[in-house]
Point group: C2
Chain length 327, copies 2
Amino acid sequence: MKKLINDVGNVLTESLDGFAAAHGDIVTLGAEHKFVQRKVLKPGKVGLISGGGAGHEPLHTGFVGLGMLDAACPGQVFTSPTPDQMMAAADAVDTGAGLLFIVKNYEGDVMNFEMAREMSGRDIETVITDDDVAVENSLYTTGRRGVAGTLVVEKVVGAAAEQGAGLKSLKALGDHVNKATRSMGVALTSCTVPAAGKPTFQLSDTEMEMGVGIHGEPGRRRVALRTANEIAEEMVAAIAGDLNAQGDALVFINGFGGTPAMELYLMYHAAVAQLAKHGIRAARSLVGNYVTSLDMAGCSITVTMLDDQITKDWDAPVHTPSLRWGL
Amino acid sequence: MKKLINDVGNVLTESLDGFAAAHGDIVTLGAEHKFVQRKVLKPGKVGLISGGGAGHEPLHTGFVGLGMLDAACPGQVFTSPTPDQMMAAADAVDTGAGLLFIVKNYEGDVMNFEMAREMSGRDIETVITDDDVAVENSLYTTGRRGVAGTLVVEKVVGAAAEQGAGLKSLKALGDHVNKATRSMGVALTSCTVPAAGKPTFQLSDTEMEMGVGIHGEPGRRRVALRTANEIAEEMVAAIAGDLNAQGDALVFINGFGGTPAMELYLMYHAAVAQLAKHGIRAARSLVGNYVTSLDMAGCSITVTMLDDQITKDWDAPVHTPSLRWGL
């Protein structure tokens, strides 16, 4: 294993210390590294809290700030955060208007956020994201996995919360965005979890994992390496077939961490051409490493069908370490 | 070789097509993919043009836009752009106040930008960046290499140009920022150039290349893998020793493409602690994949000593595909 680390036991805390120092104008770190919170809270706003295993950076810590999350709770790499983390975050960012949890659909995450909700006694709603069309049930989930589409939910709901929407309407909006969103991923290489010290799975030099999960968990099947156009064709067909919609969309090409920008833009080009065949037009775009799997090579395609509300909230100002515009 | 591509001959053009489509609100693509230009030019402003081999994305195309570059000319991967590219860009973005070329110190780049300057007959000044302290001369350079510090030069000079500074003063400012800036890199793995189809160099599982160049060219020496703190200690000692300055600085941890954000923030934490020992305080920061070497794992540390002018211009609004704040 070749990584820029000191001790596998301290990777998360040292990284969070660096993150908080680098972005001290936007975020602060909670006690015992339990959560990252927005530095300046907005009184009377519904508090948005997300979290999950580390290793997917910038998700979720990089999306804390104006117009997106109020707090993010990072677990150890690919490990759910514990309920006391979410309870501490809830105590820190609840300004009286209630809290919305945004949770990717993995059993550990769902269970721990639910425990925190029950134990905190606060007014909390939960949006669970499950945008991955690759598999119906999987290694860590009942139902579909929540992947890169979670960013879209966090951005859209975050904008509406910033503009004063109430808890019930934010819960409804989050569910609505999740339903309008589909994703699928492909891995060219495995990732390596620091504590494991070796690749999570093995792929030969001529294979790829179609439909891979963001922890390197299996997808639909292992297939021979193909061209970018062929990969985009299969992924878009799965997404568009499941969406069963036409019109304007946000097209989000997400790198898994080990794939350079040059290839991600090439995939954007390929995906847009394939989407056009299904009557879907890229009216908004996002290309980059946003929901990663450590150093895995590969990418996912996320498509969110746009309506007036989603478009307005996507375009609204955001000021976080990793997503920033309009301010 | 495992890459998301169609044909090694078309990687650059397909990627640029995707880039221009994804960022059509900010940039347009010149004829024959010769350059990327700012969509809305500002009449009477000095035009800033940079460029270089592709494979370092988002440098330089991702930094075209308000407050930074007016045009960027991408060569083939790790290959200088040709003079006709810079001449076409000059024709496109010269609004009458002259042009400033910002060129990384590689023999091919310097020669081709100089040929374009001579042949164009326009009023052009050139800033050459050479921030890499690793080696004095190298595979492709006489003198030091220009690396990630080039981003800082482009940002600072771009802000001053946006505010109306004239050509001579921008040339002086660019040279000043370059002199205030030092960088050094380390590689944990090689990159793979698509057209070559195999890694540029070989590193065993227990080795790293200290002082590596952004094309994977040799650095100071090949050494046994060390901890992040030990790596930061050596790189910061080289940078601080060469800078021979104390005070506030911009600290920029740049990923080479294959290293996840988690490790880059950990390196930021390590670098800041080492810099403090040399009397350098991180008053501004930047952490991410900005000046990459395709899929190489590793990072560089860049330090720019701040004065009032550099701080003001660094903080000024910027609106490009890959660097965006204050707007």
